[in-house]
Every structure is written in structure tokens, then in C-alpha cells.
């Protein structure tokens, strides 16, 4: 108990402390940083979401972003995409800002009545490479067939979108992200509306991205097995941002301190682990 008060107190005093710890932690890492975030304060004019976050997003890592509603998960992703500016702090791209950042928005925002086929949706991932008059060249067509195949939608590639189920649409959108071929990939709650088998399938794609040395940022909406695929976590909430290896960040104390879980939820979820004993003592 006293441990929790101390840690949350330190965090509130300045999340920079946590950030500095993480930066040191990653210094020995051989993986090169795709993006370095320094002293980042994010928010809107009358609302600060969190203060002074410093962290690296390294190639070949998968970062889970968690937080209660309104803690700034989607805002963080928008900021990474360059759609909004931070209140202060900076983003440093050691290898230059990528030409394209892979991005998958929440599926609820998608208009499924739009009259295109699955393969056209996937091709959209590479649309900037098209000429004004020419479409995909032979190499890109091969790449697209492979992407559709990996996402599991090759057999329905000629279907219009309105004939797809939610899971099929999400697979098609994953094919588009594959076509983007980006070193940094941002996925905003990609499993919120898909069934377990689709989730497992899509996770295997994320694992391939990680193995290829791409950096994947995954906004997740609950504590689930998805976190097993993530090397790092960024927990937002209570105007704080805590970053580090998954097991260091997602402790019951942290999750309660930043308003992600209530104490009773935490003790139920983490029952049988080390910290339950602490809670039991309290």
C-alpha cells in the first residue's frame, strides 16, 4: 500500500522521472529507434492529457497503448500521424520521417457502403505510388496478391465492401496496411469488433511485422492476451504517461493509480499473483 502511494506520488510529481528511467533502459538496446519522443506534453487548449513524456519507439518492438476513455490514446496516435501538434515537446525521427506511416483507424469510422471491391481497398495502401493514368504495375500486383492472401481475403478479393462481415472488412483493412509497407504502423483498437479467430490471424501478421523490424503501436481497449504480443506498454491516465516493458508498466498498482482499474477490479484480475498478497494484507 505504502509502495503504491509512493510510486503514484512520484509519477504525479513529474512523469519525466519515469520517462528518464525508460530512456536509460533502452540505451543498451541494439534496436534502433524509429521515433524518439522528448518531453512531450499532449492535450487541447483547456485540457492537458499528460505531461512530459520521453520515450523511444524502437524498430522491432510492439508498443501497447492503454488508458481509460478520454485519457488520450487516440490523440496520441493522431499526434504521431502528424494530424495534431503536441502542446510542447518534440518528435525526433532518427532515420527521417517515414514516407508513409501505416495506419488503421477504429473500424466504426468506416463507411461500408462505399462502392469498391476488397482489392481496391487494399490497393489504396499504395495509391500514392500510382501514376495519374496507370494503376498497379506487375510487381505491385504481386505484392497485393500476397497481402490479400496473408490477410485471408484473397478468395473474396472481388467482393464489394457492403457484402463483407465486420471481421472480413478488418482483414481487408489489414491488407491495406500491409500494402503501405511502412516502418512504423499504428493500429487503433484493431480487435474491438472482430471475433477471436480473426484476432489470432491478425496477431500473426503483427508478429511478422515485428520480426521484420517494423515498429508497431497498438491501441488496445482491454487487458487481454493481446498484451502477450507486445514488448512495451504506454499507460495513459490521470494526466500521466507511463512507459516501459509490459510487465513493469501494467502492474495492479500502476493501473489503479492511473485510473484504468478500480482497486477491486485490480485485485480480481491479478488474484494469485504477487501483489494480491499485498492487497490481502491491506
Amino acid at each position: 500500500m505504502s509502495d503504491r502511494i509512493q510510486r503514484s506520488g512520484a509519477g504525479r510529481g513529474g512523469s519525466g522521472v519515469v520517462g528518464a528511467f525508460v530512456a536509460r533502459d533502452l540505451r543498451g538496446d541494439l534496436m534502433s529507434a524509429v521515433l524518439q519522443i522528448r518531453d512531450l506534453t499532449l492535450g487541447y487548449r483547456d485540457l492537458t492529457l499528460f505531461h512530459r513524456l520521453s520515450m523511444d519507439i524502437a524498430a522491432g518492438t510492439t508498443l501497447a497503448v492503454l488508458g481509460a476513455n478520454g485519457s488520450g490514446k487516440s490523440t496520441f496516435v493522431k499526434m504521431l500521424l502528424g494530424l495534431m501538434d503536441p502542446l510542447s515537446g518534440s518528435l525526433i525521427w532518427p532515420q527521417g520521417r517515414p514516407r508513409d506511416i501505416g495506419y488503421l483507424a477504429q473500424m466504426t469510422e468506416f463507411d461500408r457502403r462505399f462502392p469498391i471491391r476488397v482489392r481496391d481497398l487494399a490497393a489504396m495502401g499504395a495509391w500514392r505510388g500510382f501514376g495519374y493514368r496507370t494503376g498497379l504495375d506487375a510487381a505491385a500486383r504481386d505484392r497485393m496478391a500476397a497481402a490479400l492472401d496473408e490477410a485471408g481475403v484473397l478468395d473474396i478479393a472481388d467482393r464489394p465492401l457492403h457484402m463483407l462481415s465486420g471481421g472480413q472488412l478488418q482483414r481487408a483493412l489489414f491488407a491495406r496496411v500491409i500494402m503501405q509497407d511502412a516502418p512504423l504502423i499504428l493500429l487503433d483498437e484493431p480487435f474491438a469488433a472482430v471475433d477471436q479467430s480473426t484476432e489470432a490471424h491478425l496477431l500473426s501478421i503483427i508478429r511478422r511485422w515485428r520480426d521484420e523490424g517494423r515498429a508497431v503501436v497498438l491501441v488496445v481497449h482491454d487487458l487481454s492476451s493481446v498484451l502477450d504480443y507486445c514488448s512495451h506498454a504506454l499507460l495513459l491516465g490521470g494526466q500521466e504517461a507511463t512507459h516501459g516493458p509490459v510487465n513493469d508498466v501494467l502492474t495492479p498498482d500502476r493501473l489503479v493509480a492511473q485510473g484504468y482499474l478500480s482497486e477491486s477490479q485490480a485485485s480480481w484480475m491479478f488474484r494469485g499473483t504477487h501483489s494480491t498478497a499485498e492487497h490481502a494484507n491491506v
Binding site: L81, D100, I101, Y103, T108, P115, R117, M124, W127
Partner: protein, 300 residues
């Protein structure tokens, strides 16, 4: 019947009207398709009203010339489009409410000036169009707008498709997403002005929306949507003009739009994406019915 058509064809103003609306169809069809796909069908109508004061002021100050129509309409239309975007960005109002507010003001201004200017104004042809009004200058206007529109679509088509299909994704892909939005609005205003003489301010949008919504019931691809929309628009114009000739007191605008409405109803009933799907034999396909999409959309 044949005699009537031969007689109709012998009039220069009718031949002129057929040529003008043929070119007009090619121009407004793609604009209409994207109005519908971008969920701006009603915004198109609002914009048609919004350009009214510009046309009226141009008319009152410089007479009913193509130049006054173009300049006045462009200023009013682009002004309203920019103000709408500004209000939607900086205030609590969404763009539909912003546009509704602005077009109502604009329309009131237009009608006020029109009434104050007195009876010299041919109100009926102003609101509903007149095939008699298509002079050489109007032909040049229609041709010019069609050229600009088709060239713009040649360049803008892909960005427009991406931004329409997935605006959030498109925003991450480009530095100036507003360029496509505002560029499209400009094309809309230009086409409304081109359609003004034949169709009038009240009916101008009809030739854009109805062929596009009718095509929507048949086409599952953008290409199909564009081609079919053009064919519906063209047929509406030709049949509508003929009707307008057969019934001499009818303005051309409502006649053309009525035919387009007929295509729409036919498509809604028989098109595979309308009720037509239900009229076929029940299939064992795994297609998701429209009803299920609607269900899921409500759930969100």
C-alpha cells in the same frame, strides 16, 4: 410522333438545348456521383440555393449575361463554402448545420434583392430554367465548365476516391486534405452555374443527384457508378427536353428532373442494390444483406 420529333429538331434552340445538356450530363454526372458518395446530397441542394444571391446581384447590376452569372455565382458559392468550412472547424456547429444557416441567409438575400428589383426579372425561368435561354455564351459556359470538370477529375479522381472512402486515412496520407474538399466544392459550384440556364436554381441539383442515386442501385464499383450515372443523366436530359417541347408551357428543369426521378424509382424497385435483391429467388449466398449493415450501423 416522328413528325413531332422532326419538327422539334428543326428548331435551332432545341438543337442547341440537346447539345448543351449532353455536354452538361458528362460534366455533372461525376460531380453528382461524388456528392452522393461523400454524403453531401443535401449539401448540393443547399449550395444551389447559396449561389442565388450571387446570380441575382450579378443579374441586377450587369444584366443576365454569362459573365455576371459566373462571377456572381462563383463569389457567392466559394464564399459560402469557405465560411462553412471555417464555422465547422472553429465552432461547435457541424458542417451541415453551418451550411444550412448560411444558405438560408444567402437565399433570403437573393430573393429579397430579386423582389426589390421588380418585375423585370423572369422569375419562372430563373427558378426552373428555360430551354429558350440557351444562347451562344451559355453554350461556351457549359463547354468550359465541362472541360474544367473532366480535366479536374482526371487529376483528382484517385485522391477523391481515397478521401471519400476513408477520410481519416486520407488525412494521414497528404499534407493538404482540404485541397481536395474545397476543390470538389469549387467544381460543384461551377457545375451548378453551368446547369442554371437549362434547369434553374431550384432544379440544378436534380440532374446531379437523381442519376447518381439511381446508378447507386446498380453499381458496385466506382467505374460503374460514373458510367451509369452519366447514361441516366443523358437520357433524362433528352427525354425531358422532348417532354418540355411537347408541353410548351412546361419549364425544362422540372421535365428533366422528373424523368431522372423516374429512373430513380425504377432503379430503387428493380436494381440489385435496391428492392430488386429481395424479388429474386432466395439465395444461399453468404452475402450480408443491407438490413444487417443498417442494424450494425445503428448499434454503433
Amino acid at each position: 410522333m416522328y413528325d413531332l420529333i422532326a419538327e422539334m429538331w428543326s428548331f435551332a434552340f432545341m438543337r442547341r438545348a440537346f447539345v448543351a445538356t449532353t455536354v452538361l450530363s458528362a460534366s455533372v454526372a461525376p460531380v453528382g456521383a461524388f456528392l452522393v458518395l461523400r454524403r453531401l446530397s443535401l449539401a448540393g441542394e443547399a449550395m444551389a440555393h447559396a449561389i442565388t444571391p450571387g446570380i441575382v446581384i450579378g443579374f441586377v447590376t450587369a444584366g443576365l449575361s454569362v459573365m455576371s452569372l459566373l462571377v456572381g455565382g462563383l463569389i457567392a458559392g466559394v464564399g459560402v463554402a469557405i465560411l462553412t468550412a471555417f464555422l465547422a472547424r472553429r465552432t461547435i456547429l457541424r458542417s451541415d448545420a453551418s451550411l444550412a444557416s448560411l444558405y438560408l441567409i444567402a437565399l433570403a438575400v437573393g430573393i429579397f434583392i430579386l423582389s426589390a428589383a421588380g418585375s423585370a426579372v423572369p422569375l419562372k425561368s430563373f427558378l426552373f430554367g428555360s430551354i429558350l435561354g440557351i444562347d451562344d455564351a451559355s453554350m461556351v459556359l457549359v463547354g468550359g465548365v465541362a472541360t474544367v470538370t473532366l480535366l479536374a477529375f482526371a487529376v483528382l479522381l484517385r485522391p477523391l476516391i481515397v478521401s471519400t472512402c476513408d477520410p481519416v486515412f486520407f488525412e494521414t496520407q497528404t499534407r493538404g486534405p482540404w485541397l481536395v474538399d474545397q476543390g470538389f466544392m469549387l467544381l460543384l459550384v461551377l457545375n451548378l452555374l453551368a446547369a442554371f440556364k437549362t434547369l434553374g436554381t431550384l432544379m440544378a441539383v436534380g440532374l446531379m443527384i437523381l442519376p447518381a442515386t439511381a446508378a447507386r442501385y446498380w453499381a458496385s464499383t466506382i467505374t460503374g457508378q460514373l458510367i451509369l450515372g452519366f447514361l441516366f443523366a443523358l437520357s433524362s436530359c433528352w427525354i425531358g427536353l422532348t417532354l418540355s417541347y411537347l408541353f410548351p408551357d412546361t419549364p425544362s428543369g422540372p421535365a428533366i428532373v422528373l424523368v431522372a426521378g423516374g429512373f430513380f424509382l425504377f432503379s430503387a424497385i428493380f436494381g440489385p442494390l435496391g428492392f430488386g435483391r429481395r424479388m429474386r429467388k432466395p439465395s444461399v449466398s453468404k452475402d450480408i444483406p443491407i438490413a444487417q449493415i443498417q442494424q450494425e450501423e445503428r448499434a454503433q
